[in-house]
C-alpha cells in the first residue's frame, strides 16, 4: 500500500497500478483499457485519494482492484446507484463507474438511465464486449440478433440495445465512444469525459477474445471504418462522409457530396447526436467514435448542494433543540 501524495508530486501511470495481480484472460481488451485509464489518470491532477472507482460484477467490473485509488467492487448492476450516493454526498471526489454491457445494460439498465437523466457528476465507462464474459459466454443485451451463445444455441432472437441511443434517449448530457486498443482516442474521450460536469457516458468497444472474439473487427481492425467525430469539423472518414438525410437520419455518402455535417457535440437538441448513434455496423458498416454529445446542464449533486445551502441561508443552520421543540409544546411541572 503506497501512500497518497496530497497532489504535490506529479503522478505517473505507475502510481495508479495497485498491487493486485491483473487477472483477465491473456489478450482481453480490458488490459488496454486499464492501461489507457492508468495512463490518463495523472492528467487529472487529482490526488489518488480523491479518486474512486465503483463497479458492479463482471470481468470489466474487476477494474477497481487494479487501480491504486479508493474503490468498490459492488454487486451486479448497482454501481451507478452506489456512485450516485457517493458523488452526491462527496462533491470533492472524482467518481468513476465501470462495468460491462450485462452489468450496466441488463440488470443495471434502470440505474444507468436514471443516473444519466439526473446528471450526477460521474464518469461512466461501459466496457461493451457484447457478451457476458464472467459467467462464461451467454448473450448480452448488446449481442447482435442471431447470436449463437451458450444460452442461445439456435441464435438470439432479440434486438440489441444501441448503448448510445439508449443514453441519448435517457437525456444524457455527455455521450462518447472509443475502442479499447485505440489509446489516443480513448484518452481524449476520457479527458473530455472527466472535464464534463454531470454524468459522462463512454462506451468502449472491448474485445472479449474468449467468448466473442472479433466482435468489433469492423472498426477495431478495419480502421478505415472509423468515423472520428471532431467538434467544428466536417464528419468525413477516408473518402466518405456523413450527411444529414432528408428524413433526419444521418447517412454515409461520398465525402465530396455537398452538405456534409459539421460536428457540434454541444448542440443542445439531441436529435443529430441520436441520428449519429444509429450509424453502426448494421446500418452502414462503419461507426462514429469520439464525442457525440456534450452539453451543459446543472449536475444533480450541485443542485442538491445548492438547496442545502439555500435552506441554511434562509432558515439558519439547523438547531437540534429547536427541531425537537417544534410545534405545539406544553409544560408539565
Amino acid at each position: 500500500m503506497s501512500s497518497g501524495n496530497g497532489g504535490l508530486i506529479p503522478l505517473t501511470a505507475k502510481d495508479f497500478k495497485s498491487d493486485q495481480e491483473v487477472r483477465w484472460c491473456p489478450g482481453c481488451g480490458d488490459y488496454a483499457i486499464l492501461n489507457a485509464v492508468q495512463g490518463f489518470m495523472p492528467e487529472l491532477e487529482i490526488p489518488r485519494e480523491k479518486i474512486v472507482f465503483v463497479s458492479g460484477i463482471g470481468c470489466a467490473a474487476r477494474f477497481p482492484y487494479y487501480m491504486e485509488t479508493y474503490g468498490m467492487h459492488s454487486i451486479h448492476g448497482r454501481a451507478p446507484a452506489i456512485a450516485t450516493g457517493l458523488a452526491t454526498a462527496r462533491r470533492d471526489l472524482s467518481v468513476w463507474v465501470i462495468g460491462g454491457d450485462g452489468d450496466m445494460l441488463s440488470i443495471g439498465g434502470n440505474h444507468l438511465i436514471h443516473t444519466l437523466r439526473r446528471n450526477v457528476n460521474l464518469t461512466i465507462l461501459l466496457l461493451n464486449n457484447e457478451v457476458y464474459g464472467l459467467t462464461k459466454g451467454q448473450y448480452s443485451p448488446t449481442s447482435e440478433r442471431g447470436k449463437v451463445t451458450k444460452s442461445t444455441p439456435m441464435g438470439s432472437v432479440d434486438q440489441p440495445f444501441n448503448p448510445l441511443s439508449v443514453a441519448i434517449g435517457a437525456e444524457a448530457t455527455f455521450v462518447a465512444r472509443a475502442i479499447d486498443t485505440d489509446k489516443k482516442e480513448l484518452s481524449e474521450v476520457l479527458r473530455a469525459a472527466a472535464a464534463h460536469r454531470g454524468t459522462s457516458f463512454v462506451e468502449v468497444f472491448q474485445n472479449c477474445n474468449i467468448y466473442n472474439d472479433g466482435a468489433f473487427d469492423f472498426v477495431r481492425e478495419q480502421k478505415e471504418n472509423r468515423i472520428y467525430l471532431r467538434a467544428g469539423e466536417p464528419i468525413v472518414f477516408g473518402d466518405r462522409g456523413v450527411r444529414q438525410a432528408e428524413d433526419g437520419s444521418a447517412e454515409v455518402v461520398d465525402a465530396s457530396t455537398p452538405g456534409i455535417l459539421v460536428h457540434d457535440p454541444s448542440h443542445v437538441e439531441p436529435s443529430v447526436a441520436f441520428a449519429l448513434s444509429r450509424l453502426t455496423f448494421d446500418t452502414v458498416g462503419a461507426t462514429p467514435l469520439g464525442i457525440f454529445r456534450s452539453v451543459a446542464r446543472p449536475a444533480y449533486d450541485e443542485a442538491v448542494a445548492d438547496q442545502i445551502r439555500l435552506a441554511t441561508e434562509q432558515r439558519g443552520e439547523g438547531d437540534l433543540k429547536t427541531l425537537l421543540h417544534a410545534g405545539d409544546t406544553w409544560q408539565i411541572d
Binding site: G4, M72, H73, I75, A83, G85, A89, Q307, G318
Partner: protein, 616 residues
C-alpha cells in the same frame, strides 16, 4: 366555563369517523392538541382508507381517527371507543360494531339521506330502525347548522360552507370534554389566514359547535378529565415517523456525520422522506431514488464516503434491498435500514400494521449474513430507537435494521422532549493513517468492537478496494481460502453477537416479584401488552412483562429472564416469529398469542389470554 353539570372521568376514547373528504384527520389532530395542552396522557391512531379518494360516502372511503386520553398514564389508543362521532352513514356502519353497549354516538343527521344510506349499504336508516338501541345517540344536524352559522360570509358558496362542518364537530367535542379553544382559533388563523373567508368560516363553525354544546338541551352534562401525573418537563405530541425523523437528525448531529437518506416512496414509510426533505438546513440530503435498490445503494455509497447512510421502506421495498444489505455486511460499513412494517404478504394491506418482517430482516439474505436488529416500541420511543440503530451502525460498521410499523408510524403520543445536551455522543472515528507500520489493512479490526477501520475516500495513503467477494482476514484482499472463509463467517457473526455487551439488559416488570408467567413482547405491542398486564394485575393476579428492543443480538440476560418463569407468553402480530427465535435459542417452551388482523391488539382480549394462563 359551562353552566351544565360536570362529570369527572378518568379516561375517554373518542373516535372521529367520516368521509375522506370530511377533514377527519385534521379534526382528530386538533382535538388531540387541545387535550395534550391540558396535560392528559394520550395516544392516537389514525386509520386512513386505502384509496386516495374513494367515492364520497362509500364504505372504503371512510377515514377514522381515534384518541384515547386519561388522567393517568396510558399505553394505547384504546380498544373500543366510548364515543363515536359519525359524519355519515358509511362512517357509522364501518365503526358501530366497535362501540360497546352504553357508548355514545354522535351522528350528523344531515348526511343520513337516501343516497348516502344506499352508498353505505343501509336498507333503512339506522337512526330509526333500532340499530342504535342501547347507545346514547346524539342526533346533530351538523351540516345545516354549519351552513346557517356561515350565512353572510362573503365569497363562500354553500358547498364550501358545508366543508366547515368538521370545525363545528370539533367545537362541540371540545366543549363536551372541557378543552380550551384558543389553540384552535390560532391554528385556524395560521393555517387559513391566506384566505380570510375560509378562516372566518372555520372560526364561525367552530364557535357555533362549541356554543351548541353549551346551549343545546341534548347535551345535559359535560365531562372533565383531570391532568395525568406525568414526569415533569416540556412535552409535545409526536408520531412514530416524526420521532424517527428527529432521531435520525439527532444521530447525525451526535456523530458529526452528515445524514444521507436514500428512499423510494411507500406507505407507511414515505413521510420520513417527506419530513427529512424539509430539514435540509441540518445538512440533510434526501435522495428519492428510482427504486428501493438504488435508494439503499445510494445510502451505502454515501456511507462509503463518510455519511450516515439511511434508507427507509416497508416490507415489499425492504425485500428489494436485501442484496444490497448483504453487500453492506461484506463491506462492513454503517447503514441504517428502516422497515415500517405493514400487513403482508406481498402488497397485503398497505395501510395496516403487522410485525411479520422480523425473520425477513434477520434471514432474508443469501449466505451467513448477520445484521443487528433494533425495534421501536411506541411512537415517541422511535426517537431513541433511531439514535440507537445509528449508534450501533456507526460504532460497529455494520448495517442495522430498525423495525417500526404502521401503527407506530402514524400513531402519536405525548413526548417528554429530551434534553439535547444529555443525549449520548456517538464517536465516528474515521481512520486517518496506517494501522500496521506503514501499511493500511482495511480489515484489521478493533480488538474490542471487532469493527474494521472506516477509511473514507479523501484520506491520503489509505486508498483501498473493497467488495462483495470473500475477504482475507486483516488485509481485506480477495480470498478463496477455505479456512479463511470459515473464520470470516464466524468473525462477522461474533462482531454482531458481541454487541450484546453494549446494550442494556432486558428489563422485567414484575412489581411484586412473584409472577410465574412472563409476557414477552417486541415492537408496537408494547402498548397493548402494557395495558393488558395492568388489567390483569388490577384483577389481582401477578404477571411479569418484558419488552425486547433488540432482536439481534438479544440482551445478555434474556435466557436467564425467560428461564425464571414457568410459562412465557409471546404476543405478536404475526404467526410467531420472535417465538420461533427464542424457542430455538433458549429451548424454552414459550407459547404465542398471535393475531394477524392488521390492527393493534385489543388489550382486553390479550388480558383474557393472560388471565387464562395465570389461572391455569
Amino acid at each position: 366555563m359551562s353552566s351544565k353539570p360536570v362529570e369527572h372521568l378518568d379516561r375517554v376514547i373518542i373516535r372521529f369517523a367520516g368521509d375522506s373528504g370530511d377533514g377527519i384527520q385534521l379534526t382528530g389532530d386538533r382535538f388531540t392538541s387541545e387535550t395534550a395542552l391540558l396535560g392528559n396522557d394520550l395516544a392516537t391512531l389514525p386509520d386512513f382508507p386505502a384509496e386516495i379518494r374513494a367515492p364520497a360516502g362509500s364504505l372504503p372511503g371512510v377515514s377514522g381517527f381515534q384518541v384515547h386520553f386519561a388522567d393517568h398514564d396510558i399505553f394505547t389508543s384504546g380498544d373500543q371507543p366510548n364515543v363515536l362521532v359519525a359524519m355519515n352513514p358509511a362512517a357509522l356502519k364501518t365503526n358501530l360494531a366497535d362501540v360497546p353497549k352504553g357508548g355514545m354516538v354522535i351522528v350528523n343527521t344531515d348526511a343520513f339521506n337516501e343516497r348516502n344510506l344506499q352508498k353505505a349499504g343501509y336498507e333503512a336508516s339506522p337512526l330509526s330502525d333500532g340499530s342504535l338501541a342501547g347507545l346514547h345517540v346524539h342526533e346533530v344536524a351538523l351540516t345545516s347548522m354549519t351552513v346557517t352559522a356561515l350565512k353572510g360570509i362573503e365569497g363562500i358558496t354553500s358547498r364550501e360552507a358545508e366543508r366547515s362542518k368538521n370545525f363545528f364537530a370539533l367545537g362541540l367535542m371540545l366543549w363536551l370534554y372541557h378543552r380550551k379553544t384558543e389553540g384552535t382559533l390560532a391554528f385556524i388563523e395560521q393555517k387559513f389566514g391566506n384566505t380570510p373567508s375560509i378562516a372566518e368560516a372555520n372560526t364561525r363553525a367552530f364557535k357555533a359547535g362549541y356554543n351548541y354544546g353549551e346551549t343545546s338541551e341534548d347535551f345535559a352534562v359535560s365531562y372533565e378529565i383531570a391532568p395525568a401525573h406525568l414526569a415533569p418537563g416540556r412535552y409535545r405530541q409526536i408520531t412514530g415517523n416524526g420521532a424517527i425523523t428527529c432521531g435520525l437528525i439527532a444521530a447525525s448531529r451526535l456523530s458529526g456525520l452528515p445524514l444521507f437518506l436514500g428512499a423510494y416512496p411507500i406507505t407507511p414509510a414515505s413521510s420520513i422522506l417527506e419530513e427529512l426533505a424539509r430539514h435540509k438546513n441540518f445538512g440533510v440530503t434526501t435522495f428519492q431514488a428510482e427504486d428501493e435498490i438504488a435508494a439503499c445503494g445510494a445510502a451505502l455509497g454515501a456511507s462509503f464516503g463518510g455519511s450516515l447512510g439511511v434508507t427507509t421502506s416497508a416490507g415489499p421495498g425492504v425485500v428489494l434491498k436485501s442484496e444490497m444489505v448483504g453487500l453492506a455486511v461484506m463491506l462492513e460499513l454503517p447503514l441504517v435500514i428502516l422497515d415500517i412494517q405493514r400487513a403482508g404478504p406481498s402488497t397485503g394491506m398497505p395501510t395496516k400494521p403487522e410485525q411479520a418482517d422480523l425473520l425477513l430482516v434477520l434471514f432474508g439474505r443469501n449466505g451467513e449474513s448477520p445484521v443487528p436488529v433494533v425495534a421501536a416500541s411506541s411512537p415517541s420511543q422511535c426517537f431513541h430507537a433511531a439514535i440507537e440503530a445509528a449508534r450501533i451502525a456507526i460504532k460497529y460498521r455494520t448495517p442495522v435494521y430498525l423495525l417500526s410499523d404502521a401503527s407506530l408510524a402514524n400513531g402519536s403520543e405525548p413526548w417528554l422532549i429530551p434534553d439535547v445536551d444529555a443525549l449520548p455522543s456517538i464517536a465516528s472515528p474515521f481512520a486517518t493513517g496506517p494501522n500496521d507500520g506503514d501499511l493500511f489493512h482495511p480489515y484489521k479490526r478493533d480488538p474490542d468492537t471487532l469493527a474494521r477501520p472506516w477509511a473514507v475516500p479523501g484520506t491520503p495513503g489509505l486508498e483501498h478496494r473493497i467488495g462483495g467477494l470473500e475477504k482475507e482476514d486483516v488485509t481485506g484482499g480477495i480470498s478463496y481460502d477455505p479456512d479463511n472463509h470459515d473464520a470470516m463467517v464466524r468473525l462477522r457473526a461474533r462482531k454482531v453477537a458481541n454487541i450484546a455487551a453494549d446494550i442494556p439488559d432486558l428489563e422485567v416488570d414484575d412489581p411484586d416479584g412473584g409472577a410465574r408467567i412472563l409476557v414477552l413482547g417486541w415492537g408496537s405491542t408494547y402498548g397493548p401488552i402494557g395495558a393488558a398486564v395492568r388489567r390483569v394485575r388490577k384483577a389481582g393476579h401477578e404477571v411479569a412483562s418484558a419488552h425486547l428492543h433488540y432482536l439481534n443480538p438479544f440482551p445478555r440476560n434474556t435466557g436467564d429472564v425467560l428461564r425464571r418463569y414457568d410459562r412465557v407468553l409471546v404476543p405478536e402480530m404475526n404467526t410467531g416469529q420472535l417465538l420461533k427465535l427464542i424457542r430455538a435459542e433458549f429451548l424454552v417452551d414459550a407459547v404465542g398469542y398471535n393475531r394477524v388482523r392488521g390492527l393493534p391488539f385489543r388489550s382486553s382480549e390479550l388480558a383474557e389470554t393472560i388471565t387464562a394462563l395465570v389461572e391455569r
